[in-house]
Symmetry: C2
Amino acid sequence: MPAPDTTSLAEALRPAVLRLARHLRREAQRVGISEVDWQLLSIIYRRPGIGVSELADMEMIRRPTMSAHVKRLEAAGWIERQPSACGDQRRVGLALTAAGRAALASIRDSRTGWLRDRLAALDPDARDAIAAALPAIAALVEVQP
Amino acid sequence: MPAPDTTSLAEALRPAVLRLARHLRREAQRVGISEVDWQLLSIIYRRPGIGVSELADMEMIRRPTMSAHVKRLEAAGWIERQPSACGDQRRVGLALTAAGRAALASIRDSRTGWLRDRLAALDPDARDAIAAALPAIAALVEVQP
DNA sequence: CTTGCATAGTTAGAGAGCCTAACTAAATAC
DNA sequence: GTATTTAGTTAGGCTCTCTAACTATGCAAG
């Protein structure tokens, strides 16, 4: 292939990504909400009435896993299950509670955080390189046949 | 684009990284050895006699966590503790066993894997973008004040 | 309308991976 | 010779993820 050796690229990318993920998790714990929870609250905020399976598909996580997340968020009082809008009794419609909206807003403020500071500390060139690579990184995990 | 907003860059990078990490972990499980274990075996192979604390520092995880990893790798028969080379009775010197070397070799072969295929499926430009961003991503998690 | 399959979601059980707090034991410093 | 530092372990807990097996609803075809 004309491209750089994909094997070595993979071998270099793998540890870098996992190490960064480790730090992000640590940081999230410091802030008090996990990345997954934050992400889910954001999605439910944007798409009230969404169901468990749809969420699972969006995040590419198995349904029982997502079911547990939803249960936890509900127990925390951040989301609630509404009767299915479309009449399908199997589906649940998820929506933020007032507390959930408040949590989302307050977290958004307090979430400036570690990653932003680290990014800000980089050379502008390095930051641009990351920005340029983001679509490609996202494409790696895109669903496909 | 000269100085992309670091906050939005952080908000975009975070989910991308965590999602990719999720996939990598899943894939590692399919292959039969976790990324952490593979990484540790590689490091110990390159630096026999290394200690638990050094490993923990290199991977930027806490010592008890690393202690547990080491214990597990030892139980699997992949590494062994040698009497400290330098006479310091507190330190352990870790080294691969014959089985560990064999495992490393066999895994290296069977590890062509998901990530490499995904990278290979990208446009060359996208791959180049990731390669260009790698140093910056690594720098994000570099130790420093 | 019943039989049978598909879909939405849950429960149960497991395992990886990370953490902090508190400990032992050896080295070092005063 | 006590006091501090360093290497490593133990204990206990949390989060995130998975698979397998289940319930209950919807739907379609005979």
